[in-house]
């Protein structure tokens, strides 16, 4: 990330200037496309050089596809693929007479691809203006202009005593912390609780906090990573939209422990309700004295700002997320420097996933020992939210224990597949997670056990593919996503994912040795987990379903 641009942004931020990205997003909302006039205006308002603004305007999905009077976005996430094999995408393109990413000449309708809307429980999903409709008949309703907001399932805890989903919090954890604990004591408690990051990497939250606490900086920040871009996952969506106070409490606790006075939440534009619902909750918390110059009457000050992204999967990576928050192109930066040393506006910054931060009030409320005991059969502490796709009989978000068997989760919790279909394979934890074949369903849901199968806990999304899924089509689907979402910074990912997608999308056999050499280059050469992780599901398919991949003899 350019130090000069970050400094320009910091100075303008202190004067109350908006980011270039925010100005460009407004222009898109206002007139459906970005003109050079808009770019000049964004440069003037934000202080960013015109060229840099141009770079931003060519990076984010939301700024690229021109919008018609009616803007239709079709979800091409993995759950929607598992439901229809992309038949809904083809049907919409044909019926609307509009290709993906295009606008009809008369400006009446535009169609764009979006990944993913977080309605994996009732795929396929389509966003029509600001209405997200999903489930059987959605394509017909788009054509008849009768779309309606699809219902969303209520999250359920299967713990004897719910922890994360304990209901509306009374700020007990924060009260305990600011009245009885020194910041160092809270940090020690979180370290003792061994809270592992819930966003995919599993990094210990306490260690991250300690780096930031010890780092020198005139200010420090807490950033909640709400860019839950993993197709098939809608866990953070549920937390941000239904349990926003839990996130607010977790961020305030993090701020208290680290010595930060401000927090930011980066929400996804694919979840249009997240930002307004969080802003309402933040305003409520200010009124209740939970946020502001004196948190719960103490001398600790903390407040929160909500910022919405603009469509980019890689922005879920922490350095790209910080670039996006500052209105820059959402590309990855090499670490070090780590955000804990040099993050937002060049200051020490903790970036934690939304669910990770939502675990902190639970730790503060019940203490490290009881937090550990939430998953008694596992070395991993705390509970985990998982979610299931539409192929299951009871899709939704569930609070479960680590170490629970995948079979128990799929059959007892989610009710098995609809219509007596069988589980051909499961993708767990997002697009960078391996694929578990149906015959390995007795694997426990936990970090080490899934890693042994080339899979991961990841974000906790569980997408089932039934016997109708063609595995070569799945590989092509995943690599299309991987190539389209590559930020373009490091060479192996920028070119390699494109080449891997090309190998599968041609009607010719795939040369296995060449494919494996390419996958190795991605795994070992890429700068971040996107290029490094996209080979994992392809490796699984090579291991478990080679006969379906159309490999050369």
């Amino acid at each position: 990330m350019s130090r000069n641009l970050v400094e320009i942004i910091r100075q303008h931020h202190e004067l109350g200037a908006p980011t270039a990205l925010a100005v460009l997003k407004d222009a898109m909302e206002d007139h459906g496309e970005i003109t050079d006039e808009d770019r000049r205006h964004a440069a003037q308002r934000s202080g960013l050089p015109e060229a840099a603004v141009h770079g931003v305007s060519t990076f984010y999905d939301d700024l690229l596809a021109p919008r018609g009077a009616r803007h239709v976005r079709v979800c091409t996430g993995t759950a929607c693929f598992a439901a229809t094999a992309d038949a809904h995408v083809t049907a919409l393109q044909d019926a609307l007479a509009c290709a993906l990413g295009e606008r009809r000449e008369d400006g009446s309708v535009s169609l764009a691809e979006t990944v993913c809307l977080g309605f994996c429980h009732s795929s396929p999903a389509v966003r029509d203006g600001d209405v997200i409709d999903a489930g059987p008949g959605v394509v017909a309703r788009v054509l008849e202009e009768t779309t309606r907001c699809a219902p969303e399932p209520t999250p359920i805890s299967i713990l004897d005593v719910p922890a994360l989903l304990a209901g509306s919090p009374d700020w007990t954890g924060l009260v305990r912390a600011v009245t009885t604990l020194q910041p160092e004591q809270l940090l020690e408690e979180v370290k003792a609780a061994e809270v592992r990051g819930r966003g995919g990497a599993g990094f210990p939250a306490g260690a991250k906090w300690e780096f930031a606490r010890k780092a020198a900086g005139e200010r420090k920040f807490i950033v909640a990573n709400g860019d839950e871009g993993d197709p098939g996952s809608y866990i953070d969506k549920v937390l941000m939209e239904r349990h926003p106070n839990l996130l607010i409490e977790g961020m305030a606790l993090a701020g208290y422990a680290v010595g930060a006075d401000h927090g930011f939440v980066l929400t996804r534009s694919e979840y249009p309700l997240s930002k307004p619902l969080l802003e309402t909750a933040v305003a409520g918390a200010r009124d209740a004295g939970v946020l502001g110059a004196s948190v719960l009457g103490s001398d600790f000050a903390f407040d929160i700002t909500i910022i919405e992204g603009a469509g980019s999967y890689v922005v879920g990576e922490e350095t790209a997320l910080l670039a996006c928050l500052q209105g820059l192109r959402g590309t990855v930066s090499a670490r070090p420097p780590f955000p804990a040393q040099r993050g937002l506006h060049g200051m020490p910054t903790v970036v934690n996933n939304v669910e990770t931060l939502c675990n902190i009030p639970v730790v503060a409320r019940m203490g490290a020992d009881r937090y550990h005991a939430l998953s008694p059969a596992s070395p991993t502490s705390g509970s985990k939210l998982v979610c299931f796709n539409e192929r299951f009989a009871r899709p939704g978000v569930y609070e479960v224990r680590f170490g629970t068997g995948m079979r128990e989760l799929c059959e007892d919790v989610a009710g098995g597949l609809v219509g007596g279909r069988t589980i051909k394979a499961l993708q767990i934890g997002g697009p960078l997670g391996g694929i578990l074949p149906g015959w390995k369903i007795d694997t426990p849901f936990d970090f080490d056990e899934l890693a042994a199968e080339g899979c991961m806990v990841g974000h906790g999304g569980i997408v089932a593919f039934d016997e109708t899924t063609d595995m070569r089509a799945l590989a092509t689907h995943l690599l299309h996503f991987g190539a389209a979402e590559s930020c373009g910074k490091c060479f192996p990912c920028r070119i390699g994912l494109r080449r891997a997608h090309e190998m599968f999308s041609r009607d010719t056999p795939v040369d296995r040795p060449k494919l494996e050499a390419l996958l190795e280059t991605l795994e070992l050469g890429s700068l971040c987990a996107h290029g490094g992780g996209m080979p994992a599901p392809i490796r699984s398919l090579l291991a478990h379903f080679p006969e379906e991949l159309g490999l050369a003899a």
Partner: protein, 215 residues
């Protein structure tokens, strides 16, 4: 802070804290090929061509962005690191519609990996479309030769402080633009030539007086 003891290809050396592996290798007279690195700029870590082996690390690391640690053992000939770097250069050659000129850094780096710049590649596929911007009197931009190494953008930002250039697009479509993509002339470019000087592929070149008279 006290200096650190490291070992590179069996040779021990004392380095100051904050020294990168690439700096240490070069200080010892060794070399690791690079494409996105320019010693006048902050390391970028994009090209992944400077990969080296480090004892105990799970895989090769980029020498340009990896700080030396006390007791570190670096192997610049690590076969895995060399294989990944060579494959990455091969990928770069596959995206260009024409072979890079022999004098360019890209062609020189390709030769160090024994790659034939105009030969077959293992992963053929879409190439950059030709697009020439020659509206500026002294600077020519051939977009199809751009490999998104970021050196021109950083030269303009970190060396010249002009901010006339930007990275554009994303993924395979990544490229560069001057100003609002209206060419160097309409941008804030001051014609310093730092971008052309650092470009490793001749995507940006200075149009010399000699070339003008030849036209």
């Amino acid at each position: 802070m006290r200096s650190m003891l490291i070992e590179i290809d069996g040779v021990r050396a004392q380095v100051a804290p904050g020294t990168t592996v690439l700096e240490a290798v070069r200080a010892l007279g060794g070399d690791v090929p690079t494409l996105c690195f320019d010693e006048r700029q902050d390391p970028f870590g994009a090209c992944r061509v400077c990969m080296v082996g480090v004892a105990g690390a799970p895989g090769p690391v980029a020498a340009c962005t990896t700080p030396c640690r006390d007791g570190m053992h670096v192997d610049t000939h690590d076969p895995t690191a060399r294989r990944i770097a060579a494959a990455t250069v091969e990928l770069v050659l596959s995206e260009l519609p024409e072979a890079p000129a022999a004098h360019t850094e890209l062609a020189i780096v390709a030769r160090t990996f024994d790659l034939d710049v105009s030969g077959d590649v293992r992963w053929p596929g879409e190439q950059h479309a030709g697009e020439h911007d020659e509206r500026h009197p002294y600077l020519a931009l051939h977009h199809e030769l751009c490999i998104s190494c970021g050196r021109c953008v950083r030269a303009c930002d970190e060396v010249q402080g002009t901010f006339a250039l930007t990275a554009t697009g994303r993924g395979f479509g990544a490229n560069i633009a001057a100003g609002l993509d209206e060419g160097f002339r309409a941008s804030t470019c001051v014609s310093c030539g730092a971008c052309a000087d650092t470009c490793p592929t001749d995507a940006i070149t200075e149009i010399s007086l000699l070339a003008m008279t030849e036209r």
